[in-house]
């Protein structure tokens, strides 16, 4: 009976170091420092691979191993420490850890006047009308001088583009009033 002898080869060195670590951050299943850590709603810490395996073991009865509170894949929060990637054990990558959830702040739509509630038809028509009028008037100056000189109809192109613009504006106003 040797009481002082270490029971295994990996024992002496590694465990000596681990005694120094904070047991607060030990996984409740493997008793090691939690890797790919997740925390349950009840506040209990696990490695994700450990917890995942437990959830798979009893899929119909998923309880926190520590306090028996209800637990599940969508009820745990991953913990991201600084530089946590460096400590990751590649053997434990098996099931991907559930991702952290980040809600986007509410933003207003780019076309407040058109109102999404009016329906898809109005929206697409309005968007179509805009660039059409825009393009016509933008391209107009390039055309203007040659056409002025050659055809002697200085205002025709400009007139057409303005017509489109008016149609577009009228349409927008109609949409707003409708």
């Amino acid at each position: 009976m040797e009481t002082t002898n270490a029971p295994g080869p990996s024992k002496s060195g590694k465990d000596g170091e681990e005694k120094e670590e904070n047991p607060l951050f030990e996984c409740n299943i493997c008793l090691d420092t939690a890797k790919d850590a997740v925390v349950s709603m009840c506040g209990h810490l696990f490695c994700w691979p450990c917890l995942h395996q437990w959830l798979e073991t009893r899929p119909t009865r998923q309880l926190c191993p520590v306090c028996k509170a209800a637990i599940g894949k969508d009820k745990v929060i991953p913990l991201y420490g600084r530089g946590s990637n460096q400590q990751e054990d590649p053997r434990n990558k098996v099931p991907p850890r559930p991702a952290g959830q980040r809600s986007e702040p509410e933003t207003n739509s780019g076309f407040p006047g058109f109102g999404f509630g009016d329906g898809g038809f109005h929206m697409s028509f309005g968007i179509g009308a805009f660039p059409f009028g825009f393009i016509t008037s933008t391209f107009n100056p390039h055309d203007q001088r040659p056409s002025q000189a050659a055809r002697g109809l200085p205002n025709e192109d400009e007139f057409i583009s303005k017509m489109f613009l008016y149609v577009a504006i009228t349409f927008i106003i109609w949409l707003l009033l409708a």
């Binding site: 009481t3 990996s10 590694k14 299943i29 493997c30 073991t57 309880l63």
Partner: protein, 167 residues
């Protein structure tokens, strides 16, 4: 009070990440030696194999089992700690208790249905110590003779109907 590993050559085929569970068992052993539950004094005589433990337990003072010595056997499957250990009393003295069959099988819910990987050898020992300590009358379970004749060797194969916890 002795904790001893069997020296059998039975190699456990490990799942997924065997080293990790082996490390857990080693950690459990260390903490059991360091802080044994009352009535459990551990001395270690280790072997290659961590999957079979023998733990000696003394009946607590002031209880019906005072002065008695018992031996508990823990068998760990490769799925431990997701799978509960197989825990039985072995040896010549099996405690006479309403939840302990004469073949050493123990009717204790944490050993099957209520097992959780957050439990450990230490907490199982504690539960068994307190189960013995709270006993008010030394007797076998009512269905003892039938059970012992018909049961599987592995108590985990038994579909236990858990007795009233107050006994």
């Amino acid at each position: 009070m002795a904790l001893r590993f069997s020296k059998s050559k039975h190699n456990t085929k490990v799942i997924l990440d065997g080293e990790r569970w082996e490390r857990r068992l080693q950690k459990e052993l260390m903490s059991l030696i360091k802080e044994p539950p009352p009535g459990v004094v551990v001395d270690s005589d280790q072997g290659e194999n961590l999957s079979l433990w023998t733990i000696k337990m003394r009946g607590a003072e002031g209880t019906l089992y005072e002065g008695e010595n018992f031996t508990l056997q823990f068998k760990f499957s490769p799925k431990y700690p997701f799978d509960s250990p197989e825990v039985t009393f072995i040896g010549p003295n099996i405690p006479v208790h309403p939840h302990v069959y004469s073949n050493g099988h123990i009717c204790l819910s944490i050993l099957t249905d209520d097992w959780s990987p957050a439990l450990s050898v230490q907490t199982v020992c504690l539960s068994i110590v307190s189960m013995l300590s709270s006993c008010k009358e030394k007797k076998r379970p009512p269905d003892n003779s039938f059970y012992v004749k018909t049961c599987n060797k592995n108590p985990k194969k038994t579909k236990w109907w858990y007795h009233d916890d107050t006994v």
